[in-house]
């Protein structure tokens, strides 16, 4: 259990404290008799995992090496899809657009959510207000997208009416190449920030209050406390939140599909939209599978890097 003496010196900066040895893991042969009962408990989740994740993934990887139009049988064409993808300008465009989206989405979402979480933790203690923050997340993605699509409409949207009322030129939020991705990112920040804040808020609550007491006894300022205590101790939760939101962000699709459909020109053709277009629009399921496999690899790498370098699986509270 945590003791005061084991805590890192807040002045020295918590994140730089030396690594401590991990507790020795219990022996491997411990109670093999539990295995059967464990398997029994895992079974329901396992069935779902195999049927809905493992088999489709393996089949997807197989299809990525084929030419397949759904109607008819796949024909094996080796790595042709992959070589074509690397020469495909639209693929690189889609990647650039997606990265731009993820950057804007995660950047704003994390900062705003952290701010909201701190407010929830320190100021807004009423359950009602905390609940209200979560409201946008309770509305389905497509509904949120359509709602904003109408509110931001060039001609009849209320936002442009207000802009116009101030005597400023109307903005084609979804129609112009510069605005399309920032607008879509903004819509999704609005929807997800409450939920992300809730996750971070849970992390904040797990930081023991006596750490703050010690800090204030030592005369640490609010800012100093935030950077030297809150942030380092929040890190495991933040990393988890980042891993989950970054992966989710890379998979943006519904907001794009119901608003711009990838346009104007190619400005919002994010990778998932491109995959959908190739598969369901142009019946090129082999190519689309190859794109999906590439996205899968990228996401696995991103998650790995985040866990590895941000040390998300270790807590400074040990």
């Amino acid at each position: 259990m945590t003791t005061i003496t084991k805590l890192p010196d807040p002045v020295a900066g918590g994140s730089k404290h030396p690594q401590r040895g991990k507790n020795p893991r219990p022996g491997r042969g411990r109670r093999l008799g539990d295995l059967r009962i464990a398997l029994l408990f895992i079974l329901p989740a396992m069935v779902g995992f195999v049927a809905f994740f493992l088999i489709p993934t393996i089949r997807g990887i197989y299809l990525s090496f084929t030419e397949y139009s759904v109607l008819g049988d796949p024909t094996w064409i080796g790595t042709k899809n992959y070589t074509a993808i690397f020469a495909d300008e639209l693929f690189w465009n889609a990647m650039a657009v997606t990265v731009q989206y993820v950057g804007l989405n995660i950047g704003f979402q994390t900062v705003i959510a952290l701010g909201l979480a701190l407010l929830m933790h320190r100021v807004a203690k009423s359950t009602l207000i905390r609940g209200v923050l979560l409201l946008p997340f309770l509305v389905a993605n497509v509904i949120v997208a359509l709602l904003w699509f109408w509110m931001l409409d060039y001609q009849i949207g209320i936002v442009n009416e207000i802009i116009n009322w101030f005597g400023l030129p109307r903005i084609a939020f979804f129609g112009s190449e510069q605005w399309a991705i920032p607008t879509i990112a903004g819509v999704n920040v609005w929807r997800h920030m409450g939920y992300t804040a809730l996750l971070i808020f849970a992390g904040l609550q797990s930081i023991p209050s006596h750490v703050y007491e010690v800090a204030s006894l030592d005369g640490a300022s609010q800012t100093r406390t935030f950077w030297s205590i809150t942030m380092p101790l929040l890190r495991p939760v933040l990393v988890l939140v980042l891993v989950v939101t970054v992966i989710g962000s890379f998979q943006v699709f519904d907001t794009v599909a119901v608003t711009t459909g990838g346009g104007p020109i190619n400005a919002s053709r994010v990778i998932q939209m491109y995959i959908y277009q190739k598969a369901f629009g142009e019946s090129d399921f082999g190519y689309a599978s190859a794109l999906s496999v590439i996205l899968f690899v990228i996401l696995a790498l991103v998650a790995f890097i985040q866990m590895k370098f941000l040390k998300g699986n270790e807590s400074d509270l040990d």
């Binding site: 759904v70 109607l71 409409d153 060039y154 001609q155 129609g175 190449e177 629009g281």
Partner: protein, 445 residues
């Protein structure tokens, strides 16, 4: 009682599917329930009427109609083909059927046409041939046709001093736009009331655009630009149907597009970015545009706007003094995987018969494919006080050209939509379409 009926129906369906799987004899009896899909909600009442009449005449067959919006229609249909849940009969489009036929998803109707003695020459000329695939087999019976025209706001042309006769006799050329551009310019009005062809016109603060914009028109430009490009003698492909070489690199095409996109720069047409999420028709209804170029299937919608009197004029005459309009025709097709092909074919024949097409005609929403029914529709429109000669004149004068039917339409669209949008948005010159054309033609190598 209802339950037992359902069980019987299910058993019958299983029996039918078993016999269909056997692949030998077609289901001898035409009975049971068949599913029918269409995308145009405006036509749903007419076809529901047809279905009711059909069931009255054939009590053993029930038709269940499902209407789905255009955007969801095709993906749901493809998924249905794969999953085995596609409708027995569905409204088919010329840009989609070649792929379905090639993938063996459509039932050939030749036997039925021969056996039941369907007179193909009673359909409007040119329509039945559109539905014969590359393999020489028939995959649809024509249901209706459409042409393109100018839809204009009568009050606006009146105040601009343009008569209906002038509107019906506009001419156009890709250099200066002819009287067509003059009319568009004159109908454009800025916030201060200055017209587009007057001194002091502020193109950055336009209240009413002379010409509305739906979008870039992708590779076909059915209602956007094809009625102009065709008057220059340009064609989409080397041959139609089943062209394998596209002509987007032709100077005649690129000049036309450059002229059209130039209207935006002049302030006569809204910017492309403002069209995202907007409806061409609704903007017209809101008095934001004086002229829209669109298809006759929207006559009803344009007349439904309160306080707006919509009139119709034929598309302008081209450099050689002739008009042009794309001639698009829909048809009903039978899915090859239908568990009840006999009933499905019977329903398709009924849809293509005078009995049903007259019903559709009387609702005055579209022009049915049968020449006789088409005349009834024209009369039904006239009875409602609508002059549809702007649309029928193309058929009468033979100034229609057929919708470009080609394989890989979805891929062509995937290339041409962003390419056309880039030109309209002013990002790229019209000459950039040569590069897009190379990409399109590479698909067919």
């Amino acid at each position: 009682m209802k339950k037992t009926l359902g069980a019987v129906a299910a058993a019958a369906a299983i029996a039918l599917s078993l016999s269909a799987c056997g692949g030998s004899a077609p289901a001898a009896e035409a009975k049971g329930e068949i599913n029918y899909w269409l995308w145009d909600a405006n036509q749903l009442p007419a076809y529901q009427q047809c279905a009711d009449d059909f069931t009255k005449a054939n009590p053993d067959i029930k038709v269940k109609i499902t209407q789905r919006g255009w955007d969801d229609y095709w993906t749901t249909l493809t998924n249905g083909f794969v999953a085995g849940t596609a409708p027995d009969v569905f409204t088919n489009h010329l840009s989609k059927y070649p792929e379905y036929a090639a993938k063996k998803q459509l039932l050939s109707l030749d036997d039925a046409v021969a056996k039941d003695g369907i007179k193909l020459d009673s359909y409007t000329k040119g329509l039945p041939e559109l539905w014969v695939g590359q393999d020489g087999k028939r995959y649809g019976l024509p249901k209706d046709w459409d042409t393109v025209g100018l839809f204009y706001n009568k009050a606006m042309t009146d105040s601009a001093g343009l008569t209906a006769e002038q509107m019906a006799n506009l001419d156009w050329n890709p250099q200066d736009g002819g009287s067509y551009e003059k009319a568009i310019a004159h109908l454009t009005v800025d916030k201060n009331g200055a017209r587009g062809d007057e001194a002091g016109f502020d193109k950055n603060n336009v209240a009413v655009y002379g010409l509305g914009l739906a979008g870039g028109g992708s590779g076909q430009g059915q209602t956007e630009w094809s009625f102009l490009t065709a008057t220059t003698g340009w064609t989409h492909t080397d041959q139609n149907p089943w062209g394998t070489k596209f002509n987007y690199d032709d100077p005649r095409f690129q000049e036309t597009i450059a002229w059209w996109a130039g209207l935006i720069e002049k302030g006569y047409m809204p910017k492309l970015e403002t069209t995202v999420g907007a409806s061409l028709a609704d903007n017209f209804g809101a008095g934001k545009a004086a002229i829209n170029t669109t298809g006759d299937w929207l006559i009803g919608q344009y007349q439904s706007y309160k306080g707006v009197e919509t009139a119709f004029a034929p598309t302008p005459k081209g450099p050689e003094g002739k008009r042009a309009s794309m001639f698009n025709g829909l048809a009903d097709s039978v899915w090859a995987g239908s568990k009840n092909p006999a009933a499905a074919v019977k329903w398709v024949e009924y849809l293509g018969s005078t009995a049903c097409q007259d019903v559709v005609a009387k609702k005055a929403v579209v022009f049915p494919a049968l020449t006789s029914s088409s005349e009834i529709a024209a009369k039904a429109f006239a009875d409602k006080g609508t002059d549809v000669s702007a649309f029928t004149t193309h058929v009468k004068d033979g100034t229609t050209f057929l919708f470009p039917i080609a394989d890989k339409a979805a891929k062509v669209d995937g290339i041409m939509k962003p390419a056309m949008d880039a030109v309209l948005a002013g990002k790229k010159p019209a000459s950039s379409l040569t590069e897009a054309n190379n990409q399109v033609n590479a698909l067919f190598k």
